[in-house]
Amino acid sequence: MNANTNKKFFGERLLNRLVYPRKVEDYVQMFNPIWSSGKILGQVIQVRKETTDCTSIILKVNDNWTGCDAGQYAMITVEIDGKKYSRMFTISESGRDSVTFTVKRNGDGLVSNWINDAAKLDDIIEISAPQGDFTLLEIKQKPVIMVAGGSGITPFWAMLQDMRDLASSREVALLYYSPKKDDTILLKPLQDLAASLRNVELTVVHTRDKAAIDGKHYFGAQAIESLSVNPQDAEIFVCGPSSLIGDVETYCNDNGLADAFHKEYFTPPVIEVAAEDLSITFSQSDIVLQNGDGTLLENAERAGLTPEHGCRMGICQTCTCKKVSGRVKNIVTGDVLDEDVSTIQLCITAACDSDVVLEL
């Protein structure tokens, strides 16, 4: 996942022999903490408060960063009280040697709250190579409808900046849902950008504002069909809470737009409560747990185990675990996995309708 460039600078091989068993990087980092022979490292150069709940961290990155496509995300690794934690965040701004992540508090989430409360100048953060295909790359010059909910605005902000930089004339309608005006992340920058680009229409709906326009509170056919871009002509992108994604997906399926639909989850979809008299057995730890709400990862943690994990939403493959038996469901795709002995990702799998045995 890291941008292991594999090209060595002149003399690096010899120098590595001289510092064996360390690496040249270990010594260079005494002077330049973000120098690395293969990893993308960033140092915080600015902490920008967007709202009470949202903070952007701007990082100076090393030469292993070679840019990204607008809308992509990366896995960042931060250190909190001595321990490293990795999470995925959309790259909200990206330059030649700087990268910005705009992070909203995710409930009690450890990392998102740390970024909002404790991230400070000079902190070192590791960044993976950019990932994801939630981009405008494949869409030639087709008009685009962007539906954003809350922090889901970030990939669209990245895309719009990109369009401004490339002087793109693509027709875009951005429908942005946020609870209240004060909580609206990047509102001013978006308004400025929309004002300067004739082909971009910005519609902001404050779902908790009493003064919000009637009928446009929540997403629906009327909301999307009253935009300046016709859904039937457009590619439709949605990013935000899973309920919003669900609603947009339903609309697209109902109107023959399934092929033009693109989604990006920030939080894994909510799953239905699983039957409570199913048991989960952790065979290597000799623990049997009554199943409760949530994913197998959450259940393992409730049982007092600390399985390795990363993004907690099915992307980074850190939490893969061997399932010995039982029917389980992938909460992102809805697929039911029947195959007894298989490898699953704990964070996006939940017990389905049978007892489960995990090698954990």
Partner: protein, 390 residues
Amino acid sequence: MNAIVDLNKKLDNSFAKILNTDEGKAWVEEMGAELEEIRQRVMDDLGERDIEYMRKVMKWQKRLEIGGRASLFLGFLPPFWLAGAGMLSVAKILENMEIGHNLMHGQFNWSRDEKMHSDTYEWDNVIPADHWKYTHNFEHHTYTNIVGIDHDVGYGLLRMDDSQKWDPRFLFQPISSIALLAFFQHFVSVHYFKLDKLIEGSLSEEEKAIHKKEWPKVKRKQLKQLAKDYLLFPLLAGPFFLFVLTGNITANLIRNVWAALVIFCGHFPKDVETFHASVIENETKGQWYVRQIKGSANISGGKLLHLMTGNLSHQIEHHLFPDMPANRYKEVAAEVQAICKKYGVDYETGTMTTQLKSVYKRIFDKSLPPKETKNKIGKFINKFRKFEDA
């Protein structure tokens, strides 16, 4: 099992006696529970200050290393040679003891920092990390002081315990111990291959196969290390290569001797107990804890001693809690000592001089044949005398 050990001589030591009574077994469990509580409390508290401490040590170790090697390039001037060899010695000692040994115990695995993880850390000496982790973390820490299984008892070279069978080569062990000190890193690098078993032909086919597979690892590491210190750096010094070479040899020598002496102090002082293999059958955690205390000894001293011994001055605490970050040993030492007092278990500690004197006395003592053998030799010589008289 090892034929150098006379297994018919069952060790009669106090630990075996304790475990023979129900009362003894009970207080051992109680003591174990109290020790476990200390461990849990400290492990739950680990965080930024522990990582920052280790990072600080690693930073200073690199500074000393760079300073030492740079200084040696000017080694044709005696003060620079002395400073260079000195700094490089300290750098190597810190890297092997406070940093390497502790990281490879997994003391910082909780941080998930890959530069400090026992799975990937490789250290600056000829011993491959994998082999060290096997013989030290596994064998030595599990079978601590069990004669015949814990090869740290004598390193296959010295007779340190009565239950080890005597033979004439041990007469020279005060001298061979010097060789062990001087070439410690090399002796330990072949620990994994159980040379004593190889010599007597008691290796199993499985062991032989594993050793054959692992031998290239040692060769590679030896080559890389020796090339670095004895070839590449001297070459870089051009006409002054001799000063760099001697400086590097000296630094490795000092590290070897210092590390070996510290390690000897950990398990060889006179009141430290050795155990018979039978103690590990069904050994409980409490019993393991108590055996660790009885089989280890501390060195008393100040902060500098703790740093330079890689906190092996707290050998007892280290053996109780090998995966606890070593910077925490000093904090728990008072509590551990109090618990030992409460349960009447000896807590062996002394200054380095005291401990070393005791160790060397033992080396001399055990070099001599035990009483029965002395008698046999006497009788044999008498036979000769009678023959001559006739």
